[in-house]
Amino acid sequence: MPDQLIFAMEVILNGLLNGVMYSLVALGFVLIFKASGIFNYAQGVMALFAAMTLVGIQQGRVPFGHLINAIFGTDIHYFGWEVPALAAILMTVLIMIAFAYLVQRFVFKHLVGQEPIILFMATIGLAYFLEGVSDLMWGSEIRNLDVGLPQGINDWIDVTTFEALGYGFFIDNLDIAAAIIAAILVMSLIAYSQYTKNGRAMRAVADDHQAALSVGISLNYVWILVWSLAGMVALVAGVMWGSKSGVQFSLSLIALKALPVLMLGGFTSIPGAIVGGLIIGVGEALFEFAIGPMIGGATENWFAYVLALVFLVFRPQGLFGEKIIERV
């Protein structure tokens, strides 16, 4: 087999796995948009906040330590204990649920019935507020994240492909773990929305707010639920991305990778987020592989948007989005 073809196969496989990482971020957007029509600009910052909180709890850091020390002249930074990863994850989930409650109670409850652009603006404000709170709470330094996820080349794939093709493929164990976790996450979300009372309430609200209200479903409760789920998805995304780079501010920028995925897959479809992520992942990887070197490289960021735009021209609602038909 020609070398270039073998290399392209490796690029495609890695692109698919990168796409899963994008999908993890896009999922959080879809959950909230589907249930409330809100495009949550703060999703990326939520991933940062969740990951920072997880590491902070794990390491036994005192939240708002800098602030406390500045006000009271103390010098406290750590509680003096460390929390196991699983317990820290559970505590972080609780904090994300509390965050969802606060967001709903103090922001969106007061904005029910407002124009989508107003809600979008509110999420921009929320993003910057959360960024500041995250800084104040845990500081801006890079935090090392270790929740026991495997990382590094998968030897089995390397050896197997080498024996078969004469070239060992590089697949990162972390990407494989991310794909498995994403699959479990998506199946859990689908099962939750199909087979539980709360899930059915979420779907009812997503289909028609007014009708859901008329049968006694609490909009407030469902929105808290949806923001909580988005918070948990943000935690998963933050952990996966943070495992490579450490937890730091740039995690909040991963939201930018979710936008072309959403444009392509549709804002209201969980399968769309997955398929969109895979297409973007493979598309940008192949473009960088084939065309990148000719035009100076670093094409991933902008090419993802070009790809999404092309899809938009032919299918404005995205691959799996609901077609909007308005009769005049």
């Binding site: 290399f7 490796e10 690029v11 890695n14 990168n18 800098h66 020390n69 002249g73 930074h77 960024e131 800084d135 801006s140 330094e141 890079i142 090392n144 994240l145 990382q151 590094g152 080349i153 590089f170 990162d172 972390l174 991305w241 490579k244 780079s245 450490g246 730091q248 501010f249 740039s250 995690l251 920028l253 991963i254 990778k257 940008e284 990887a285 960088e288 592989f289 990148g292 070197p293 100076g296 490289g297 670093a298 991933e300 960021n301």
Partner: protein, 426 residues
């Protein structure tokens, strides 16, 4: 109405009060944003050294220093806004810690007569003081860094890189693109093949770039990274099992936080450093007079790490120039013009560094009207899995390669901007 009049008069009186007698050193820092992890220790080191001078010596020449910090978030527009909002405070010298901001400030500071010190970053050809009258980039610049790395590799390869391949993994920005020209010249001269691999801001994703490196297996990978790009690159190098000792970063890719996440797996990774590592007497003084006194800019945890030390070194160079300016002008309250003249006459020798409690922190150098760039020397350091250790003494760049490039680029700048050489008569 009467109250308003009194208020207006009071405001006018306050506004009209002469600035307090202090030496103002603006710090265009970034404690937030994607590059905060690098910006924080540098800003802490800079501020803490100035505080030390105030606490221990009563300032410089009896005049207290004042660091005016302004948050840029490593954003060029915000950096320019910071400059505009702080220059009226009597700023003596600017250190923006950003190549993008530096490019914007070079013409502005020249017009305003305020010196700009871009230590190891910014516009490389500003080393030509004949053209860039108010910009200084001593003790070293990017082209020096590229040359030092190649000189070290030549040393390790018996003086020849013929037939070898070197990949430059660079941040796709003005900063990251700076060394390309030098490395291309050196590739032609030394007979190695240069592959340029760009990584987009912020650098969180490098999967495709490292697949390329894994396919092509260059003999060395040289990195021009900053922020998250460094941590991800180190991790990707480990993941793809690239030999870490053949992976070399510049001095902005060799901080503690760049390798701590990877820990022992990153052992062998090398980088340049423009300042020496290790314990120095000045750290104990900062601990005593600044951190223990509760006056530190941060929580004190960065004391002695790579970027903290560099920030402290930058402050030391600024303080030495200020002291020289006082001496040259005979005035304790100096102006930016005095500061510029002193920076151009600055001599840093072993005794000066020893006296400041930081023996051998940098190379000895002397600035002149023509040469604003210093010697360009740098050390090579290596991560041993737990800490950075010094591998070499200060290595000199190849001036015969860098100097013509500096002259060519600065001549082009002078032509484009109608600048007359300032040292023509010297």
């Amino acid at each position: 109405m009467k109250k308003l009049t009194i208020l207006a008069l009071t405001s006018a009186m306050v506004a009209g009060t002469p600035a307090m007698a202090d030496l103002v050193f603006p710090s265009l820092s970034y404690r937030t944003g994607p590059y905060a992890a690098g910006g924080i220790p540098f800003a802490d080191g800079y501020a803490d050294y100035m505080t030390l001078l105030n606490q221990r010596d009563g300032g410089i020449g009896g005049v207290e220093t004042r660091v005016v910090e302004c948050e840029t978030a490593y954003n060029t527009e915000r950096g320019v806004e910071c400059y505009e909002s702080t220059r009226g405070e009597g700023a003596l010298v600017y250190q923006p810690l950003s190549t993008g901001i530096t490019y914007q400030l070079i013409p502005r500071t020249t017009v305003d007569g305020i010196p700009l010190h871009t230590m190891g970053y910014g516009r490389t050809s500003a080393a030509n003081g004949n053209i860039f009258s108010h910009t200084f980039n001593y003790p070293a610049n990017y082209w020096d860094a590229a040359s030092v790395i190649i000189n070290q590799l030549l040393e390790e390869n018996d003086g020849s890189l013929e037939g070898q391949t070197i990949a430059l993994l660079y941040h796709n920005s003005a900063y990251g693109r700076e060394p390309i020209r030098t490395l291309q010249t050196l590739a032609e001269q030394e007979g190695f093949t240069l592959t340029e691999i760009a990584v987009d801001h912020p650098g969180q994703e490098q999967g495709n770039q490292w697949l390329q490196i894994r396919r092509e297996r260059p003999d060395y990978v040289v990195m021009w990274g900053w922020g998250v790009m460094n941590q991800v690159a180190v991790q990707e190098a480990i993941n793809t099992r690239y030999p870490m000792e053949n992976f070399i970063g510049n001095w902005w890719s060799g901080s503690d936080h760049d390798v701590e996440q990877a820990g022992a797996d990153a052992a062998g990774y090398r980088s340049l450093n423009m300042n020496r590592l290790g314990d120095m007497p000045v750290f104990a003084e900062i601990q005593e007079h600044v951190i223990d006194a509760g006056l530190a800019a941060g929580d004190g945890s960065n004391l002695g790490n790579v970027l903290y030390t560099r920030g402290m070194y930058a402050a030391f160079l600024a303080a030495e120039a200020a002291a020289l300016a006082q001496e040259m002008s005979g005035e304790s309250e100096i102006t930016p013009a005095h500061m510029r003249d002193a920076m151009e006459a600055l001599v840093i020798d072993a005794e000066t560094m020893e006296a400041a409690g930081m023996p051998g922190i940098g190379p000895e150098f002397a600035v002149s009207c023509e040469d604003h760039g210093g010697t360009g020397m740098a050390i090579m350091q290596q991560w041993d899995g737990e800490q950075w250790v010094t591998l070499t003494d200060f290595i000199a760049p190849d001036d015969s390669v860098t100097q013509p490039l500096v002259l060519e680029d600065s001549a082009q700048y002078a032509e484009e901007n109608g600048i007359e050489p300032q040292c023509a008569e010297s």
